[in-house]
């Protein structure tokens, strides 16, 4: 299953917006069971670790068994946010 993040806007910056986006994804996009969930960053202009952290934290809590994949992106904010999140314990 792939989630196209641009559907939540191309400026993904604040924690409340990340939380809101996840709740919406859960209600309308995500299946009840998923083996793998892929995040697609195409068309995103600005992504921050705060937005992503909020989204991922809830996703991982609801889908502890699912493998979460990230589609490659050349957007510098996506690259830096993923780097920061990956270094977080």
């Amino acid at each position: 299953m792939t989630i196209k993040l641009y559907k939540f806007g191309d400026f993904l910056i604040s924690r409340p917006a990340g939380r809101d986006a996840y709740l919406s994804a859960k209600a309308y996009l995500l299946n009840k069971k998923a083996d793998a969930i892929e995040l697609d960053f195409e068309k995103i202009k600005v992504l921050t670790p705060s937005w992503l952290d909020e989204f991922l934290m809830m996703l991982k809590k609801d889908y502890p068994e699912a493998e979460i994949k990230y589609r490659p992106s050349d957007n510098p904010t996506v690259i830096s946010s993923l780097k920061t999140i990956s270094q977080s314990p």
Binding site: F11, I13, R15, P16, V46, P49, K83, S88
Partner: protein, 259 residues
């Protein structure tokens, strides 16, 4: 003066100027009297009103026009000084509405508009500038929402190659002490906030924002000044993180990013 220079052909009567500039009529009358005497302004009576108009024929006119233009440029460049003054005062004063974001929604709308304008000038690095500014500004809202000591909201201003953000919130030390009560001073709190994954919002697994800021600033060879309480953190182009004790104290946080 700006009022008269915007349309030099237009004359204004005293109370009209007072209303437009929010300056008392008495003060305006006193200043105009001096400027009429110097030849920079002319006055004439029409009915019961005395009108004032700038004299475009005097040599002073061009000089004043240039002076005001330069003053406007320096005012734009001194956004850091303006923000510093705002966070240094013991009691809250108002900020010009164009740089004051009372709520997160206002901040995010202005940030997006800023990033889109900046993208035309510097390309996709504008997105990184917006992400860094976004993390710093949102941090202010995340940690002070419903708990602002006096004035809610933040200052968000920009001039060429720099962005300034400030808040009159609780500051980093008080926020960090929510989860690390043993942290002794502002300097140590800044070090923790910028180098360790720890969130001041108790019970939440967060705390990446300022590490991201630090990482992007280093990677891009930008520079950052971040002050909270009595401590100033400087992240220079040489990728060195330096924290110093300042003689004066500020309320909340003050940050300047140079890119």
């Amino acid at each position: 003066m700006n009022l008269f220079l915007t349309d030099p052909n237009r004359a204004y009567y005293l109370h009209e100027i007072a209303k437009l500039t929010s300056i008392s009529a008495g003060n305006i009358r006193r200043e105009l009297k001096i400027m009429v005497k110097s030849g920079l302004f002319q006055s004439y009576r029409q009915g019961r009103l005395v009108y004032f108009i700038i004299n475009q024929d005097t040599v002073l006119f061009e000089a004043v026009k240039t002076l005001m233009k330069n003053a406007s440029v320096s005012a734009n460049e001194d956004i850091y000084g303006q923000a510093l003054s705002w966070v240094s005062k013991p009691t809250a004063s108002s900020l010009p509405k164009e740089i004051y974001c009372q709520t997160r929604d206002i901040f995010l709308a202005r940030l997006q508009s800023f990033a889109e304008r900046l993208e035309i000038k510097i390309g996709t690095d504008a997105y990184l500038v917006a992400a860094v500014a976004g993390e710093i500004g949102n941090n202010s809202f995340d940690h002070n929402l419903g708990n602002w000591p006096d004035l809610p909201g933040i200052c968000f201003a920009s001039s060429p190659n720099r962005v300034v953000l400030a808040d009159r919130g609780q500051g980093i030390l008080k926020t960090i002490r929510n989860v690390r009560p043993q942290v002794k001073n502002d300097a140590r709190a800044l070090k923790v906030a910028f180098t360790e994954v720890v969130s001041g919002r108790y019970g939440e697994k967060r705390g990446n924002g300022l590490k991201f800021v630090s990482s992007v600033v280093s990677d891009k060879n930008w520079s950052l000044r971040f002050q909270s309480g009595r401590a100033l953190l400087e992240l220079s182009k040489e990728k060195k993180l330096k924290i110093t004790e300042m003689p004066g104290i500020i309320r909340g946080c003050l940050a300047m990013l140079k890119y």
